[in-house]
Point group: C2
């Protein structure tokens, strides 16, 4: 397989984690977002959204959208699993993943920040306040959900989660970790999020997460 991606893209980082957890080798095809390489026809003609990441399957199909790619990898190679086994637990994990992918990350894409400063003439402070607002609000919601899930697990007689859900990393962790990296880079306050940050720390102790991080990517230029 091949992965079109960019070292700093959160959505790319998600898929790299999933590939590393599953031990699937892939060719790293860098697409430099800040240089606009995703808009070059050579790339943009491959995927309708001209965004990264995109996975090229062994059959040559080009798959966009990180969440769809990770579900594909899960179906292609079910172990190590990124989703639990029961429909309810799978819904728990997918909801956490979507809380990052649908509620936090879309508001902080480079193209959105560019619209704020370029078209709406927001200054740097207003742009940063926007960024901090949505990341912080989203992570507080994420933490509240983890608290609810901890109570649910306790009521069911399940052990407390080590990661976002359970004792192995899931799609939720694949989404959370890049969002925390992104938040740290922009100096977002991460205090008062004990369950969230415990899951993050547990993930970062695993080689798969460390190997997928931006600083380990070949296009991480100094």
């Amino acid at each position: 397989m091949k992965l079109y991606n960019y070292f700093r893209s959160s959505a790319s980082f998600r898929v790299r984690i999933a590939l590393h957890i599953k031990g699937l080798p892939y060719e790293y095809l860098p697409v430099h977002l800040l240089r606009g390489e995703h808009r070059d026809p050579a790339y943009a003609n491959l995927v309708g959204d001209a965004l990264v990441p995109a996975l090229v399957t062994d059959e040559g199909a080009v798959l966009p959208q990180s969440m769809a790619i990770m579900e594909y990898l899960e179906e292609l190679q079910p172990t190590p699993a990124l989703l639990p086994t029961t429909p309810l637990a799978r819904a728990r994990v997918r909801a956490l993943a979507q809380m990052v992918a649908c509620e936090i990350h879309p508001l902080n894409n480079p193209r959105v920040l560019k619209y704020l400063t370029g078209t709406l003439h927001a200054d740097e402070d207003a742009k940063n306040a926007w960024y901090h607002h949505w990341v912080r609000q989203g992570l507080e919601a994420f933490e509240r959900q983890l608290v609810l899930l901890a109570a649910e697990r306790q009521a069911q007689g399940l052990a407390p989660s080590v990661y976002c859900w359970g004792d192995t990393p899931t799609l939720a962790d694949c989404c959370l970790v890049p969002q925390i990296f992104n938040g740290k880079r922009f100096g977002v306050n991460l205090d008062g999020l004990p369950l969230t940050m415990a899951a993050f720390d547990a993930c970062m102790a695993l080689p798969a997460f460390a190997q997928a991080q931006p600083s380990a990517c070949p296009d991480n230029a100094p």
Copy 2:
């Protein structure tokens, strides 16, 4: 089952469509977003994100996040299917769904528009320009992806799609249709999107979509 939802919420509309396609009866529990009822502790304490929709399962579990809910419904009752059978085709459908759920809809939530006008002091014209920009850009990307998929199907000897993918509605249609409703309400230009609008029209000819639309909801106050 019960569904906490709001007639005009796109994410709620997605889940209503899925429930109607599968013929699953549900109790409609209205949460009036504009009156802030989602922030009442009675609701906000049930789900970490205090957003709609949330599905209450027959066992009493409260599931947030529309995409996770629809995947849950698909696992709970696999037919009529909202996803195709092969991993590649499933990835195709999920990517289309995510193009709406992760790239278009999050930028046009009421809370985002409120931040634009309240905190960033954008005027009505600037707010509407923002809305139109992201919906139009997102739908153009969606259309390009449908064009790529049409070519892929032709190369595989498959019939042209009637809906977003194939001859039955999928998760992609559950996401597309509410986004088109929303776009129409805000007067977004929908010209030049022939495959997208053909899928929309095909969906709206089906009772499940018509029954789930905002005007058919009990909380659709005049």
